[in-house]
Structure formats: structure tokens, C-alpha cells
Symmetry: C2
Subunit: 406 residues, 2 copies
């Protein structure tokens, strides 16, 4: 019998009507002979609402208590889903992260799974009871409730699928799959039937909204087949596979963009070993997640280092690189730019196709779009451009790489 | 050092401002050298909102899932309270029912506590961390989350106070204590400084709104001193004691009324042994909680049996006493009356004062109020009257028994 882990959350379970639609879908799957394990995350915007309430109650919000608070959202959603399933004629039982056997470290707000011992989930399955597992939560080695972080329900689903040796992990969302680019920006964007893990990882790292990157990494590491699909149209979505079997695949699979970062440039840093290491150690100690890093060509013993950070961390980052720290780097000053956009092309095919980056740069130049920073991986090229030109860049690249729907 | 269990819930913790007010109060208690254990129930009307949501999601609401759903409310409130305490400079840790060691039976929606092993609570206290325990919940012998029922947080507080050998259990509410009658009905009602458990039990059984009757029974059985007081004015409230030390106490302590029940009369039942037993067995099997029972004088081998049930159970009860069941009782028919009110006088002093019941009946007669049913205990007399006259009856009795404030 086929065993499928299905994950639903957010808009997919935002209200009673959506809950019943999901329950009907699960009932249909079971009638077709599929064994189903559900992973449910909080309804609609509930997690945001709980965070907002905590801010109103207190300026001090200990991680242990934040996790106790936020995980309540998933518990509610799981219990309600079991009731909706009961109405649809499906026997179901909810399990908290702890009950489902998710042991985590003690790193509150962003705990990591150490081990899963899903005895109760397995026991329910053996009795033809659908287990409904609360997403993004577990119990720590200190016996406290832990939260796996935003998007952690995808990780719960993938990790559980691996542990149960499920045939497939389906991540249901409000879009119908993974597209060649954002369909809001490029109307001729097309849905991909399949994509490799490497490609999806590059896409989630560069602005593709779903699924959570950490879950894709876990799925990749443990070779859990993923299906990213819609909880609204129920049509087949995009399969995520280890390797792309189709030899006729295009060189570039997708164009992504991201407007959520800002650029920081540290000017005229001394060009000697250890200086950039020092800079990024300061930032890491301050909890700043640095993304693209570009060090310009050295000019007379000095160099400029530019990098991007999430715009929400911009203030904290510039605070860190000031005063004694700035002096320690021997720098003359720091400049920032919030009006940037990152545009990326992604595709495993570029590995064996030289000239892809050149085509990208030419396309941008032909459209009068200036490139401020460049970074590359084996299957991705990213350019930082003016924020106001980012969507133009996406449209031009989508056409240039032959991705527009016929 | 004095150890006090303090319970807050509902309106007392309805919003961030109330949370902070409670946290400030706890901080003050600690500064005065009191050790505090908090028991918190859901904020404002949250439990009602969760019940309403469940009704919208499903017509089938398994008890196990309802408990998972409803207990989320207490978890949220506990976590937020810990954050408010952190802001007030008090280190605190939240504990779910399971974490606080509340083992219960498997009777979902209305579980009974089997055992409390509060190791983590004791451990927190020993480190000067205020334990904040989620009210009305536990973990069953089947390892499922259980809910102790509405008002169960009072029971959690009292049972925990007993287990911890606390010096006092304070139940904070939105009224300033126990009154001689409902102050909304009788403006000259007075707050009692103290009351005996027996009296309070009779009062909670006959319409006094707070605290939950089950918690008073537990406190009575285990001799846990209670203090019922206001979370808004913070003034001293009403102490609940084992025996009334004041010999000058009035004969009658309080007048209560209750409009939430309906009367059912089963007419012309055969007057032979076992018939009424059969009737109430049918009702008990149907889960109907019968309150007052009056069997009228037999007339030519037949008798009328009247009893009251919560109005919400009226339809179910009349359904049970119909068709074959009614025939089995040999009855000619069933009549119901929703427009009834029960008025009660309560006081340990009446045990040694004959004539109290007669005074009550005379007072009602003098005011033209007809008595439909009567039931008595050693320290209480209750009369069922027309609902529209219930408040008149309360006012007249409050005056007649000398309870009006000077």
C-alpha cells in the first residue's frame, strides 16, 4: 500500500470551509487505497497573531515561553482537522510534536530535530487511523516544548516521511506548483512538471516563495520524493526529484527575484589576510545572516567589500560595523543601499553549457539594466540590480532563456 | 515561607493590560516574601470561541480532539503570563498539565485527576522560578491530552495547593468575594468575610456563580483553605473555612437564585416500588443531570413525579421519556415548564433553628409568590417559583432574614 505524508497549513486550512475541503481530499485518497499521514501547521495568519499578542504583553519574551505560545496554533489546527475528518467519515487522531516522537535540541524558536521515534503514529496507521501531526514542534532533551521555526512544518513533514519510509511527501500550498518565474511578474511563466533538488534549493535561496529551504535540504539529504501542489485546485503540481531524467531539458529552468535584501559596502578595507574573516565574524556573532558577498579588485593595498543582508537586519548590521569594529578593519566608511533587487537564473543544465552567464549579462545590458554585484554557483547566476528594474530584468531573462509559454 | 497557589483566568487575564496587572500583583507578593505558584486558565472568552470554531468545522467532535483543541487556550495564556512576569522582573516557567504532573482518567471533556506528581513545579520553586501551570488539563493513562471541564482551573489550583501543601489557595475572579445574594438583584447585598465549605457548596449548587463547585468539594475534602477575591480591586475577599468560628453568625447566610433549569412532570405514574428508579435510570443512561426531584402524594395508586434539569437538556430528557419508555413507566403523559426559577436560602445556622423553612414559605406567600416545588438539605431550603417572580422572591427573603446591609 502506498504511504503518503501530506502537509497542509496557512491559507490551505485558514477557515472551517478549507478544513472540510482538505478532509474531503484525504477521504478521497483513502478510498483510492492510499495510506495518509497528515502534518498540519497553524491556520491562516495565526502564528503572526500570536507573535503580535506576545509583543503587546511583554518586551521580554523568553524563547521557552514563545515556543509554548506559538505551538498552540498547530495543536488547535490539528484537533480541528481531526474533527473535520470525523465528519468526512475518516477516523483520525491528533499528535503533538512530543506525542509524535520529535525529540529536538534546546534551541528555542528554531530547534533542530535530533531524533524521531514515531511509535504512536505507526500504531495509529496499523489501526487504519489517520495520524494528524502538529507541524514545526517537538520536545527538547530538557522536556520543554520546542518550535522548529517558521516554515518548520515542511521540515516536520519531510523528516516524518523519511522516518516512516513513506513513498511520497506532498507539500500542499496556495500555488499550483513551482513556476519558471513569478507568474505575477511574467504572465507567460509556466509550471514545471518536475525539478531537481539542486535547482529547487537554488530557487528557494533566491526568492522562490515555497517550500521552506530547510525542508528541501532535508528531503534532498534523505532522498524523500517531494510533490509541491495546490490545496485549492488539487491538480498535479511539481515533482522534486534527485536527478532530472529528461535529457531534453532546457539549460535554464527558472528565473527568480528577491527584493527583501539590502546591500552594505565597507570601503577601503586594508587588503591583508584575515580582514574579511574578521568582518564576517563580527556579523555572525551579532546573529546577522549574510547572503551574497563580493570583494572588489584590490587597488593600492585597499579593497571594497560588499554584501547583502535581509533589510530587517540592516540597522543591526551597520551598528555592528561602526566605531571600534570599523577602525579595527581599517576601513574609511560604510555605505548602504536598500533599493536593490536580486535576479537569478537557475538550471542544472548550465553546468555543461558555457556562456550562460554571458547571455544573462548581455540581456541585462541590452535592456539598460546596470549590474551592481554578481555571484554564481554551479547551477545559478545571481545579479544585484536596482530594485526598480528587477521585474524588467526577470521578464527579459525569462524570454531570453526561452521559458515563455508558447 | 508562605506558599500560595493563585488562580487567574477569564476576564482577569483577558488582554495584555490585564496580564501585566496580574504580573505586577505577583511581583508584589514575591517582594513581600510569599512563594507563588500560578494556575492560569484561558483568556477572556477564548474557550467559547474554540468551541464555536469546532462547531463550524464539524458535526462530529471526538472528545480526544476537543480536549486537544481547548487546552491550547490555557497553554497560550500561561506562556503569555510568563512573558508578562519576565517584564515585571519575575523569572517564571510555564507548565502544561502533563508537565505539571497531572495524571487523569481517559474521560475526555470532563477528566478526573488520578494523581499529581509535580516534580517540575517543585524543582522550579526550589530555584525561585515561579511555576505557571495551565489550568484544567492533564495527561491521561493513555498518554492523551485531557481537559478537566469548564471551571476545571479552580480544581487544578485547589488540587495543586493540596499536593504542594500550600498555606492558601487564592481564586481570583471579577467579583470581590461571596455575597449574601446577587448584588445585581439586591443592591443591599453584603460581601461575607468568611463562609464555611458546607455553605459555599450549597450556594454554588444553587446559582452562586463562583467558584466551580467541584473545586470547592476538593478543597473541602482535603481541607485546603480558599480565598475568593478580586483580580480588579485586589481588596481582601471571602475566606472559605472548615468551620464558622463566629457564634454570632446569622441563621441564614445567603439567598441564591438560578434561572437555568426547567421542570418536567411525569403524570400518573404507577405508584409501585422501582418505578421512579426506572425513570431516573433512563435519564442517567442518557447523560441527563437531574437536580431537584419531588414525588407528589399518591392518589388512588398513581403519583406525579416532577424534577428539574438544565434547560439545555430539556429536549433530550423529554425525548428519553417518550414512546416505549413512557409506556414502561405506566404514565399518562409528560409536561414541561421552562419558565421556572429556583430560589434558595443557605446557612449552617438553620440546623439548630427550627422554623426557618416556615419563615421562607410565609415570606413568599406574603408576597403572592406561589411555590411549585420544595427541596431541602440540612443547611439549605430551595423553592421553585415562577421565573418572573424569582428576583422578587430573592429581595423579600434577603430582607426577611436580616441580610440587608444597614
Amino acid at each position: 500500500m502506498t504511504l503518503v505524508v501530506q502537509k497542509f497549513g496557512g491559507t490551505s486550512v485558514a477557515d472551517p470551509e478549507r478544513m472540510r475541503a482538505v478532509a474531503d481530499h484525504v477521504a478521497r485518497c483513502i478510498r483510492r487505497g492510499t495510506q495518509v499521514v497528515l502534518v498540519i501547521s497553524a491556520m491562516g495568519k495565526e502564528t503572526d497573531e500570536l507573535l503580535f499578542m506576545a509583543e503587546q504583553v511583554s518586551s521580554k519574551r523568553p524563547g521557552r515561553e514563545m515556543d509554548m505560545l506559538i505551538t498552540a496554533g498547530e495543536r488547535k489546527a490539528c484537533a480541528l482537522m481531526c474533527m473535520a475528518l470525523a465528519d468526512a467519515g475518516v477516523e483520525a487522531q491528533s499528535f503533538t510534536g512530543s506525542q509524535a516522537g520529535f525529540l529536538t535540541d534546546t534551541n528555542h524558536r528554531n530547534a533542530k530535530i535530533l531524533e524521531i521515534t514515531p511509535d504512536r503514529v505507526v500504531d495509529a496507521l496499523s489501526k487504519n487511523i489517520v495520524p494528524v501531526v502538529a507541524g514545526s514542534q517537538g520536545v527538547s532533551t530538557e522536556r520543554d516544548v520546542t518550535f522548529l521555526g517558521r516554515g518548520g512544518s515542511d521540515t516536520t513533514a519531510v523528516a516524518l516521511a523519511h522516518t516512516l519510509e513513506a513513498d511520497l511527501c506532498e507539500l500542499y500550498t496556495d500555488v499550483s506548483g513551482v513556476f519558471t518565474t513569478d507568474p505575477r511578474v511574467v504572465s507567460v511563466a509556466t509550471k514545471m512538471q518536475s525539478i531537481t533538488f539542486d535547482e529547487l534549493l537554488e530557487m528557494t535561496a533566491t526568492g522562490c516563495p515555497k517550500p521552506a529551504m530547510r525542508s528541501v535540504e532535508v528531503a534532498h539529504n534523505y532522498q524523500v520524493p517531494l510533490h509541491i501542489r495546490s490545496a485549492f485546485t488539487w491538480e498535479p503540481g511539481t515533482l522534486v526529484v534527485q536527478e532530472e531524467p529528461d535529457m531534453e531539458q532546457p539549460i535554464i529552468r527558472a528565473v527568480t527575484h528577491d527584493l527583501s535584501e539590502s546591500k552594505i559596502t565597507v570601503s577601503e578595507v586594508e587588503d591583508r589576510p584575515g580582514v574579511s574573516a574578521k568582518l564576517f565574524r563580527y556579523l555572525a556573532d551579532g546573529g546577522i545572516n549574510v547572503d551574497m558577498i563580493v570583494q572588489n579588485v584590490s587597488d593600492q593595498g585597499c579593497t571594497d567589500i560588499s554584501f547583502t543582508v535581509p533589510t530587517e537586519d540592516l540597522e543591526a548590521a551597520t551598528e555592528i560595523i561602526s566605531g571600534p569594529n570599523l577602525a579595527d578593519l581599517g576601513s574609511k566608511g560604510v555605505s548602504t543601499d536598500q533599493a536593490i533587487g536580486r535576479v537569478s537564473i537557475v538550471g542544472a543544465g548550465m553546468k555543461s553549457n558555457p556562456g550562460v552567464a554571458a547571455t544573462m549579462f548581455e540581456t541585462l545590458a541590452d535592456n539598460g539594466i546596470n549590474i551592481e554585484m554578481i555571484s554564481t554557483s554551479a547551477i545559478r547566476v545571481s545579479c544585484v540590480v536596482e530594485a526598480s528594474r528587477a521585474e524588467d530584468a526577470v521578464q527579459a531573462l525569462h524570454t531570453a532563456f526561452g521559458l515563455d509559454a508558447a
